[in-house]
Each structure stands twice: as C-alpha cells, then as structure tokens.
Subunit: 139 residues, 2 copies
Amino acid sequence: MRFVVASDHAGKKVKDKFLRVLEDLGVEFEDLSPKNSSGDDYPDFAGLVARKVGEDFGFLACGTGIGISIAANRHKNVRAALAYNSDDARMSRAHNNANVLVLSGSKEFSEEDIKGIVVEFLETKFEGGRHKRRVDKLS
Amino acid sequence: MRFVVASDHAGKKVKDKFLRVLEDLGVEFEDLSPKNSSGDDYPDFAGLVARKVGEDFGFLACGTGIGISIAANRHKNVRAALAYNSDDARMSRAHNNANVLVLSGSKEFSEEDIKGIVVEFLETKFEGGRHKRRVDKLS
C-alpha cells in the first residue's frame, strides 16, 4: 500500500515527519502538496488526495486536522480518520475501513508516535460484519 | 445557541458527561439518541443531528469520534469538528466555522475538560476573511 500525501502550510511540519517515517518503514508515497506554500486552501489539497484514494491510502494534515478532515469526508470515496494515537488508527481501520489518515499539525507528535500510528493503520484489517453495514451507510 | 445531541452506544458515557456540563452552564439541548442502545449505527445518528443543525449547534460522539465525524461531514450543511481539547474547539469555530462538536467516547475527558471545550466552542466567533474562502469551498 502506497500513500498519496498533501498538507497545507500549517500541516507541513507533521507531514515532513510522516514522510521520514514512511522512508524508515520503506513505504512508498507521492507528495501532492504544492511547492508554493502561501495562500493555500485545505479543501483543494483534500480534493487532490481524494481523487487518488482507492488503490492507495491517503494522508492529510492541517493546523488542527479538523478543516482538512471535513473537506476530505465531503468526498464519498474517502473515509478520513483524524487520529491522535495508535488506538485511533487501529480502530479507524478495523471499524470504519478508513482510507485516509489525518494528523494535526499543532499536536507535538514525535516520529516514534507517528510510526506507531502508521504501523497500526497499515497492518489493521477492516473487520466487516456489523461494521460493514455501518460503513455502507456512509456512501 | 442550543445543542441537538446524539451518540451511539460507545459514545453514551461522554455524551452523558457533556449533557451534565450543558446543564451546569444553563445551555439548552435536545437529545435525539434512541432509547434502545442495541444495534445502533452511527451514520443514522449523524443524520438525525444533521437535519437539525443550522439554528442549533450539534453534538455527536462514538467510540473514537472518527466514524460519526465521517458520517456527519457527508452532509453539506455540517462542519463537524472532532476536538480533543479547548484549543481544537476554539480553532474549529474561528477557522472552520464548525457547527457540530464531536468527542471521542474512548478518551478520558473529565467534566472540567469538557466544560473548557464547550465554552470555547460556544464563545468563539468565526473569523471570516481567508477562512471564509476556504469554508465556502466545503459546500
């Protein structure tokens, strides 16, 4: 599984940490963030990632993670999970079949924290069953 | 401002704390959660709240807050903020014009934590300007 990645200016720092973690783990990614960081609107970046999510997972970040989560979840093919720890990441895969991971740029995540989150997101399978009935109601 | 409120079984405990905080603050609410807590699907509860959000704020909770946030943000009139602290609540109002507050049922929020979150959510005004341009792109 590869990640397609974007962040606005306020999410850049956590996105850069996330990319270093992917490199450590040997996970491929494509960074869609514009090089020019001024005047960037988080709904545009959510849209860039939403167009590629399906075969790939997505990753998004903004200041709180909230704006870019709202924007991402406007897209019916996206189930974007704003995760604060590895338990959130695991549950979002197991119960919500999340396909986009979102982190807040304003929380102080270490690379070790992020590694724990990413590993759970990548390794946890969707449980299906009653959770499938609920996920089906999202689309 | 009044709150329309719902949670699934896994969000019930934090919802009950949230309602006690509203009572303390003298804030009105309507609890739309079904009495029968078995077999409840979070997308249904997000839909119940989404239909009433506009004049009222909304409040939602599920196990992580992630599933019900995805479901709520499928509705174009909703901007649902999964908040972990009062800074998130403040920023979600100031920058995202959030109209639904979401809490995770699996985090250990005290009533004092929740009071801080609610007060920021109620008292912070949307800043408009460049944030309005971004919020307009969500609908």
